[in-house]
Symmetry: C2
Subunit: 269 residues, 2 copies
């Protein structure tokens, strides 16, 4: 098992078709990285139960990650099949969860909505799951453990997902990765990406657990602008910050040596 590996599954035909830009995966990728998880991949799939179950099984078997977060497919419509797919992948039955049903009842009944079959469907969860309250919308989330992996299923509507993540989920998983993370960034003007490549490669080799990435922002040849992002991991926060500072200083020294200039230097002291 990779103790810090995390995967994100975005479920929804509308996302696969590009009708919606996948900001959920970006939000989760960023938050998980800041918590010290290594996000190895993010998979968007159409609303197809067997397809979702087979990819979930594949990721669990091949990568055995510490964490899988899914978004989407928890609502009342016929194509909301995430929890069915999770149950199938884990070989667990889907059972009516009384706590989830109570969450639905509290939201719906006072507003005069009936508990129709479509709405009660949102309270069926894989056996052993704990429902996660949804303070913004209707569908509860679900959290369960299978072997070494924690699986968290959240709704696809961004404001619901983000609120549930920040209010409930992040507190529950924040110590799972067991490391501290620090970040820094700088912008280099006047050095093409290809000229910085050997410098960044050598830094990546020297600082194995750190992450250094250049994003070309200008035009590679006529007006090269490189955004450099650095993050480092250590057992304590001070150690992670010291690593980021050291790497940022080495990058900016090399950039100046190659005839470039440094802007927007952001590294916590």
């Amino acid at each position: 098992m990779s103790k810090r590996a995390a995967w994100i599954l975005t479920l929804g035909t509308e996302v696969a078709r590009g009708l919606v830009v996948n900001t959920n995966a970006a939000f989760l990728g960023r938050r998980l990285s800041q918590l010290g998880f290594v996000v190895e991949g993010a998979i968007t799939l159409v609303d197809d139960r067997e397809l979702i179950a087979s990819f979930l099984s594949y990721v669990m078997r091949e990568r055995n990650p510490s964490l899988i977060v899914t978004t989407g497919g928890l609502g009342p419509t016929h194509d909301d099949i995430t929890l069915e797919a999770v149950a199938e992948a884990l070989g667990r039955p889907l059972v009516l969860d009384p706590r989830a049903l109570e969450m639905l009842r509290e939201k719906l009944v006072p507003r005069g909505y009936e508990l129709t079959r479509e709405r009660v469907k949102m309270a069926y969860m894989p056996e052993g799951a704990v429902p996660v309250p949804n303070p913004v919308g209707t569908a509860p989330g679900a959290m369960l453990r299978h072997g070494d992996t924690t699986i968290i299923c959240l709704p696809g509507v961004p404001r619901e997902m983000e609120e549930m993540w920040l209010k409930y989920v992040e507190n529950l998983i924040k110590d799972l990765a067991g490391v501290s993370v620090a970040e820094g960034s700088l912008v280099i003007v006047g050095v093409p990406e290809a000229a910085m490549a050997p410098v960044l490669r050598s830094l990546s080799e020297t600082y194995g657990s750190s992450y250094v990435k250049s994003h070309p922002r200008g035009y590679e040849l006529s007006n090269p602008v490189l955004e450099i992002y650095v993050s480092a991991i250590a057992s304590a926060e001070e150690g992670a910050r010291a690593l980021v500072k050291e790497i940022c200083e080495r990058i900016s020294g090399e950039a100046i040596r190659l005839g470039g200039s440094v802007k927007d230097y952001r590294c916590q002291p």
Copy 2:
């Protein structure tokens, strides 16, 4: 093989980590759907050669899609390893392509840049690939066929990828799906998603090859606003348009019957 199935692979640790929102997958998902492909999934992976090769192999083996489009990982830096991963997945050697080398030479030499090892790396392609010119940046794309699957590898910088897609790739693949697509949309105010669910389910069952999706935009219970998107496929464009019109009319009739109102009705006649 699924004749119309397509997959999108986004390669780049910065995307998995959420430092960049994946607009490339949305652009490609939308364009591919409009060409009649069924985008089954979009996978973002960190820059890890073995991981990318294993997912590419898995998608080809399990889904045997007609088309796979990758973006990212074609540049000069040490973590640009897409073409190595493709070569590994297909069991082909990586060879220096003289056409790709010439494309690089024409861009770099007149501007006074040398053909360093990092830059020449961008001309190594899986055996049998055809380079795709990059009119905006430096790294050429690659296009190859393996069994039933066409694989297209494009750069990750959106303005490079989009220009190459629109200028070269789309023309080459536009007949591969062999169908016509039409789209329509409408907005329903005052009917909760759960109340529309049985209507949409029944329409999806009646019109098997069409796609009907509701996106909740307001608040499910207090102020329900539902965006409905409809697309249909037929062998000719008129047939696809007629199907979309029929489905949109049935949805808006049901919405009014349920006490809602219809806005922004957009269906081509």
